[in-house]
Homo-oligomer: 342 residues x 2
């Protein structure tokens, strides 16, 4: 790059337009009447200089950053496509509302979250994966700016939380397996490390699945499968031995399971029934497309952002609470489509 061209300030604009600096400011904010002539003068000068207001100065003076912090769990078990949908959607909607997005990795734990508030780097935050007992909950209560949690911590009083309906989703999946004739169910659950991290949706999903199975009188075995090489293979060794073919409820590692079954020559929907918790893209791009309850990351993001902007516009009028995004079963080819009478 050549030499650092200095960036013009509102003072430069003022000089070029032949007005005072404050007039330039008022033209931008529209907070007082400006004669059409002056307005044109100022706008022309801005165009000519390619002027943009200095973000730091504006933030310092106005106490608004026009930035939304997004706390991303890069190390979670979400598939890349699901996580990407969240990030992409949140980035798009932010820009549509004239906000930028600051990416914060949740590896730093609660620290990164605290930092962006304490440094006044954002006007709001979105947390993408929350623990049942999450240190960020208390921080959010004391925070100078609003936070939307995607997920339900145990103590969510006065918080804004939104998530997909994992409970109904789990029940739907279990019922689907029972309806196509499964007399035993084995669930491929999340990595024990993730479970130990106390991720909120794991017990929500698992509890609902177990209750639903109990109601149907079908035994359900939950196995937490490590993400490492071989985890899914061992799971299948264990589950399929002696020629057993239980209904599979796949909560995690959807892609790996689809491939692993295929490599064993076991055809989902023919030799075995498989249902999954999965976003649309992942369910479709398996060797055999999976019957699945969609996690709808796009919908969740959109609703979260709607709520957030309502909150930014009128903090008082926007009540806290838990919002649930409906789950939905999409039947694909991994289950036998036995006619049912319902």
């Amino acid at each position: 790059m050549s030499e650092a061209a200095r960036v013009p300030t509102s003072k430069d604009v003022a000089r070029l337009a032949g007005v005072s600096q404050s007039t330039v400011s008022y033209v931008m904010t529209g907070k007082r009447a400006i004669s059409e002539k002056t307005r044109r003068l100022v706008l022309d000068a801005m165009d000519q200089l390619l002027y943009e207001p200095n973000a730091g100065a504006r933030a310092l003076r106005s106490q608004r950053t026009s930035v939304i912090a997004l706390i991303v769990p890069f190390d979670s078990e979400m598939s890349a496509s699901e996580l990407m949908t969240f990030i992409k959607e949140i980035a798009y909607i932010s820009r549509q509302n004239d906000y930028d997005v600051l990416l914060v990795t949740s590896d730093e734990g609660a620290e990164g979250f605290r930092r962006v508030f304490a440094r006044a780097q954002c006007d709001a935050a979105i947390v993408l994966e929350v623990a049942k007992s999450d240190k960020r909950v208390e921080l959010a209560r004391q925070a100078p700016v609003p936070t939307i949690f995607i997920g339900f911590p145990d103590d969510s009083d006065d918080l804004h939380c939104i998530d997909m309906d994992f409970e109904t989703g789990a029940e739907t999946l279990v019922n689907e397996l029972c309806d196509v004739g499964s007399t035993e169910i084995v669930a491929l659950g999340w990595d024990p490390v993730l479970a130990a991290r106390d991720v909120n949706y794991i017990p929500r999903f698992r509890g609902a699945a177990e209750s639903a199975a109990a109601r149907r009188g079908v035994p359900l075995r939950w196995l937490s499968v490590p993400r490492e090489e071989g985890g899914v293979e061992e799971f299948l060794d264990e589950v399929l031995r002696d020629g057993r073919r239980p209904g599979l409820l796949v909560a995690s590692q959807v892609a790996k399971l689809g491939i692993a079954l295929f490599r064993r020559g076991i055809r989902a929907g023919t030799d075995i029934d498989v249902v999954a918790l999965s976003n649309h893209a992942d369910a479709e791009t398996q060797p055999i497309p999976l019957t699945a309850v969609s996690t709808h990351p796009g919908d969740v993001s959109r609703q979260a952002m709607d709520w957030l902007f309502a909150l930014l516009r009128s903090p008082e009028a926007t009540a806290p609470g838990r919002r649930v995004v409906a789950s939905e079963l999409v039947r694909r080819e991994s289950t036998r489509h036995i006619p049912r009478d319902n």
Copy 2:
């Protein structure tokens, strides 16, 4: 959330520590000698108040933001897993160097890029996908802060560009197909929309593939396949008709192709030879793992960030240029492993 707790300033720290505000500043920057006693006093006060310096004020005064802008092509044809690797790696390395990452979508075209500079929102930028003739090139030259391009625009004088070695990669893949016995090659190329957008690596890869095929005396047909529903299916209809089984060179839509072949009952590595340009994760998670040249998004990111921080530390000493990250063939199961004499 409860009522907006006010965030403490260096003035609050000074008062609590019983020193002047400037002393607090000097303790942070270390730019002058401070007695151990005073230093302790100040640091304790900071801890007690959970003080963090205000980002806007600091940026305004110091002309440094500690933010790196990342220009992300959400609408590109990169797989989610590949794009996510870039983002994740860049975010991690940034934090290790005490920088935050501002996410900018490249949908805005050059505009978003210009904006973050003009508003002084970042100390540097990384552009993740670049056109041969890219408007951001000229902007980067005039920009007040350095930019790293991942990809090679036509006019890259005085720019810092880094990318994977697509040329050698293409040649390697073509040679591999020839070596396992292909007498004709068909390439699954990028979406025409993406090609029309002039993405730099498309002609780089395609040109090298065509040259390599010519050198081997093997005809190569390049087909640009739309991303839409059915694009890959039509490609296969066309390519496989009359029982033809050309060597397949898959540059794009790797996952879709793997599934589509499987659904037709055509086994890669047995019925047909397939090689791909793909990152490790995508190549592994196909029904039949693909012999592929890896795009190494992690390596490219790391090297890009190393370069960037060198540039931030000593702009003069860090020369512009084009850097190439070596490509590497990994043989998996999608090609017949015919012994060769080399």
